[in-house]
């Protein structure tokens, strides 16, 4: 999940990482990687709220011709976060909607930015409360490093080396009105 800090994003050290065409390209790349590995076995996709849901949808659309209608669910990991105690007000819930059984399923999780790994840990916790999947893989648009947990992605659009105080902002058409990924360097 990306931050949405307006001030940081609009400061003058911001640089563009991906433009709309680049994003479309990275999406296709994710789709191809997935297709290479899963030409046969039936897949299920789950997007992590908010922008992971959009990315999963787009990739699913790209694979429709090859893999048909991939069953799609959405996951809200708010209740599984390990930092709820440190938050001011509690996050509002977007709800989890998984319209298929996860028992024994091959599942690919989608998120926008992979950072500390805590969101993915929470997502795995949440998902396994629904049952025991046979396989869970992870697809992310951006991997910015700085992991705090032993978690690695299976499919990556773009790997960006960052300082942990840098700020990555993801904007997607469906939610933000435009496609664009921006990086703001930590002020020296």
């Amino acid at each position: 999940m990306s931050d949405t800090n307006q001030d940081a994003a609009s400061s003058n050290t911001m640089e563009v990482l991906l433009r709309p065409d680049d994003i479309a390209h990275k999406m296709r790349r994710l789709a191809l990687q997935i297709l290479e590995r899963h030409a046969k076995a039936p897949l299920r996709f789950i997007g992590i709220h908010t922008r992971g849901v959009i990315i999963g949808e787009r990739v699913r659309e790209l694979l429709r011709e090859d893999l048909g209608e991939i069953p799609y669910g959405t996951l809200d990991i708010s209740l599984y976060r390990d930092d709820l105690d440190n938050m001011g007000a509690m996050p509002s819930l977007k709800g989890t909607d998984i319209p298929f059984s996860v028992e024994g399923a091959h599942i690919i999780l989608f998120d926008d930015v992979l950072f500390t790994g805590r969101t993915i840990k929470a997502a795995i916790d949440a998902l396994t409360d629904y049952g025991r999947p046979q396989l869970i893989e992870l697809a992310v648009l951006i991997d910015r490093g700085n992991r705090e947990l032993p978690i690695a992605p299976n499919y990556v659009g773009l790997t960006v080396p960052t300082d942990k105080h840098d700020y990555i902002r993801v904007r997607l058409r469906e939610h933000d009105g435009e496609d664009g990924i921006y990086q703001t360097k930590k002020p020296d």
Partner: protein
Amino acid sequence: MEPRKDLLDIASLNLEEIEFVLKTAGPFKELFRKSIKKVPPLRGKTVLTLFYEPSTRTRSSFEIAAKRVSADVTNFTVGSSSVVKGESVLDTIDTLQAMKCDYIVVRHQAAGVPNMIAKHTKASVVNAGDGFHAHPTQALLDAFTLRETFGDLENKKILIVGDILHSRVARSVGRICEKLGMKIGVLGPGSLIPRHRPAFMRTFSSYDEALDWKPDTIYLLRVQLERQKDQFFPSLNEYHNVYGLTDERFRRIEGEGTWVMHPGPVNRGVELGDAVMNYERTLINQQVENGIAVRMAVLYWLKPQTD
């Protein structure tokens, strides 16, 4: 939205907070369809139910809600002897404080006790009903149920029937319905209609007149049997005939598609006749189920100041 420590009444909530609880309760209710109905946000936290007035239903509802958000739950039974001795409630709270609980769900026969406790403790206090004052989780679950049934509540009409004077449910439900834009009518024996009721409560002189107003839902309040003893009305039989949802009145509302609510437990033959219980537009069981989801949402929303 500012974090809030306690839920003491409806009047002090702003619309944003009410909407947050109602919106959050939805995803919690969805969990009830999962095989694992439990989620972890209150893991490691302790919820204590402190009931000075017995109520198995409300207590169980809170207990299930607390467990489904992964809190540890302890029921603190207050010996009636210490109450009689006049042991101060605050003494009890000091004891609970020492047990390091994070949430205290309290029901008390005296109005204002949850407010008093809230000032005295860092734990979040949830009012589960205090005297004639407030029953905010009941109001929230009713609002959630109304939203499920009607969607937008603006200008929808609710008719609250019964003991408006002594009812904490009427106070809290009336207040939340008003905040959500509904129109509120009240009907009951003249001795149980408060002289100083809020202006948004319109009154009716008879059931017929109230039904002519075409309420979207009728909310029946439980009749406390001791009111009859105190001569607020002559007899239960007369209450049923004049202010009960008799089978005859039921046929009229059935034709008009009016919904029926009741906070439970129901006194059959007093507030309502048997026919109503099987009516397809009776929301009584939904109210119970929604109670758990809403109480989960409330526990999730509140922020204790414990370490």
